[in-house]
Symmetry: C2
Subunit: 462 residues, 2 copies
């Protein structure tokens, strides 16, 4: 019988689509509390390493420690690579250097590196000491590449052949080598200096006559990635060109590893996520992170809001006399600031994303601004009429409605102009517009929004 | 010589890392204006299809039409698959049904489907009429799958063999079949009813003895994806389990296609992006979309802000008398609302993302709330002291400072509680928290923020 989602050999996977079910987490927690370890082992038997990692993150802290202590002697190293960082840090502490060194040995070089990177310097040293010299040297080399660079993302294991080999020589080599990666899809053709010349996919190789020379059938159009290149650019290139894999080269042009699309999948998610978080002024965070760290980062970001809102308050304070005379100003003024700020944030978000995805180029600045200003002429007119009307009826004062309409229209126009210009200028300065464009913009829409509305009202009505 | 980024055979690629350079776009624009078509062809000769697509999007509208008209007879169909949707719609209009039908033939089934989907129903019909019956039937079948489902993402081309075949039989089959996909990495093993039994990667197949039976070496732990499954869940599974490819099955469990990780890369970016845009209240948009569409969507989202802010204004209006007596309230009140709203949005963003990435489960609601409330006890105390102090000094009134501090502390506590609870409840109701949690929350922090501050001030000071 086929279930709704899956036709699978094992009942373990017949769970609610993908991922571990809440029922199973509950059952395992229960078995752990009862110290029924046989039951625990039975419940996790068929689980994928990624699901065991999820399980560990979801367990209550004391059960987590308990669980790790009973699986640590037969630990599947893949679980470590799949854990989220704060949980991984905790689990690694429970394991100790020898067990970690053991686990790293059987992981692919990129995964081993990821696990090792989550340790502090001192602990890293101890783990490295516990490894064989050859493995240690390899990992130390990798650790020397900058954080978030291609070197941290690549795997060292890859298959290279010289250009004059035939298809049958290449196949023979693959069949008889023992230190090739477990899975690979592409073979690189390199010159004597180890510079990549081209690539050929395994499936294509298989479909050529045995005596064909590989350089005659290889794809020349390869793009090598420098080992120090930022991972965001690597992800962009994979997404843009639809790469399945790409060779990584060092400064002298020698091939040192390769990056495959499955390594990049996480980076793409992370990079886009970083932008979300920055636009919403949140630091990258995780539900398993210590509360004090989270509080620290929240405070840092909220200080920006505080400064922003204090400046706006200072502007309002200049019009105290007007507000005292026409109290309706006190509740109408907030509408103008909020609408300006929100419409500006819409523009900032679109522009920041368009810059990140290279949809928008810096040289397009005037085209982008005129497009956004055009949009805001429509939205501004719409809301000026709507809100002006509502306000006039509410406070029964046509003039006040008209003033609010004018102020709103001007503020939305400004929001469109500045919401496009700020991110592009910040990007030109080499800074990250996702972080700073929003706060700068909303400060200006607040200041401008309050000043023009209260200023016009003071001029005309008093 | 090796350039900073690349060691490449063609100068075309020695551009600023990846993607087409602005200089080249400029040079092509110039050549188009001068009608120097030879120069245009020479400038685009070595460009990747993805870069030509970028070029088309970046050209001014009249030059774009011009450019398409000169390349359309020798059009690389991959360019169509790489275009952003609004530009693709324009380009397809210039091509006409016959040329489109021609282009679709040479694209992989998933790419052909993507291009076809961007046409309106009527135009789709005309393109389908221009195709051969067999191709038409295949595309019509694919079009019948729901939008954003696995069926729209998969490619039909895949390699399947029976479980009793040997390695050499399988290799022989691959070498001699003519309708296999150009690149593939995984072979599926299927039973006589065409249900998938397991998979084996090409590289593993090559390293086994010719007389090995494939079912003895296949990986049984495969997860089949139902053809109607939502693409977001597919992307989640790929990211979670690190799949390189997965088989797609229909309701009867028969294998109908496969999804590879490179198809999923875009989905991952898109899904995360959708969340950003919704949190920032922007509709999915593109710099090439018509202005009127953009304005329509902006207005729809801003109406939510308008309602939110009108409710807040209504609350403020109830305290007009108090504001008239103590005008300092008018500028201090906005600080409390802004801080509450911003700290709440931090929480909403984290919770929405944690739900989307399955980091947070609905059953964890109390754990998540208590964690966020704990964080807000720290941040709330910090800002209550800081802001209360600033306010007391500014207006020279200790009581007013104390009232602001209490109001701010309460509002931030509420923001943490509601910012966690709202997204989880909305998610439980089966709605998208990215869309609605933010606006609902900021309405409550505004209302609560103004009401408690102005209310306390009225009670205590008047």
């Amino acid at each position: 019988m086929v279930t709704e989602h899956l036709s699978l050999p094992e009942d373990a996977l017949a769970e609610n689509l993908f991922g571990i079910s809440e029922e199973r987490i509950y059952a395992i927690s229960l078995a752990l509390e009862k110290k029924d370890y046989e039951k625990v082992h039975q419940l996790i038997e068929n689980l994928h390493a990624a699901d065991v990692a999820d399980l560990i993150s979801s367990l209550q802290p004391e059960l987590r420690e308990h669980f790790v202590s009973i699986i640590k002697d037969s630990l599947n190293p893949e679980i470590l690579a799949n854990l989220d960082i704060p949980t991984r840090v905790q689990v690694l502490k429970m394991l100790g250097p020898e067990l970690i060194a053991d686990a790293l040995k059987s992981l692919a070089s990129d995964d081993a590196l990821e696990v090792l990177s989550s340790l502090e310097k001192e602990q890293q040293e101890r783990v490295l000491q516990a490894m064989l010299p050859r493995e240690r040297a390899m990992l130390e080399k990798f650790l020397s590449y900058p954080k978030d660079s291609a070197g941290r993302l690549m795997q060292r294991e890859l298959v290279c052949v010289p250009p004059f080999w035939t298809v049958s020589e290449t196949l023979h080599f693959i069949q008889n080598s023992h230190d090739l990666p477990e899975h690979f899809y592409t073979i690189y053709i390199i010159d004597p200096r180890q510079h990549p010349l081209g690539e050929i996919s395994l499936s294509l190789l298989l479909r050529h006559q045995p005596d064909t020379i590989v350089s005659d059938i290889m794809n020349h159009d390869i793009r090598s990635i420098l080992v120090t290149k930022d991972q965001e650019e690597v992800a962009f290139a994979f997404r843009h060109y639809g790469f399945v894999s790409a060779p990584v080269i060092d400064e002298s042009g020698r091939i040192v590893g390769m990056i495959t699309v499955d390594d990049v999948v996480d980076v793409i998610g992370e990079e886009v996520e970083e932008d979300i978080l920055h636009i919403s002024k949140v630091h990258e965070s995780n539900v398993n992170e210590p509360v004090s760290n989270t509080a620290y980062w929240r405070i840092r970001w909220l200080i920006i809001t505080l400064i922003n809102t204090l400046i706006a308050s200072f502007v309002i304070a200049q019009f105290q006399v007007s507000i005292q005379k026409i109290t309706a100003l006190s509740f109408l003024m907030t509408i103008n600031a909020a609408m300006g700020g929100n419409s500006g944030m819409q523009v900032v978000t679109i522009v920041v994303r368009a810059l990140a995805t290279r949809q928008l180029r810096e040289s397009d600045i005037w085209r982008a601004i005129s497009r956004e200003v055009l949009v805001s002429l429509i939205t501004g007119t719409f809301f000026a009429c709507l809100l002006g009307g509502i306000a006039a009826l509410w406070v029964n004062d046509l003039w006040l409605g008209a003033i609010l309409a004018i102020a709103l229209f001007c503020n939305m126009l400004w929001a469109a102009f500045a919401g496009t210009m700020f991110p592009i200028l910040i990007h030109r300065l080499g800074l990250d517009p996702a972080v700073s464009a929003g706060p700068i913009l909303t400060t200006t829409t607040d200041v401008f929004g309050y000043a023009i509305f209260l200023g016009l009202a003071t001029l005309i009505l008093l």
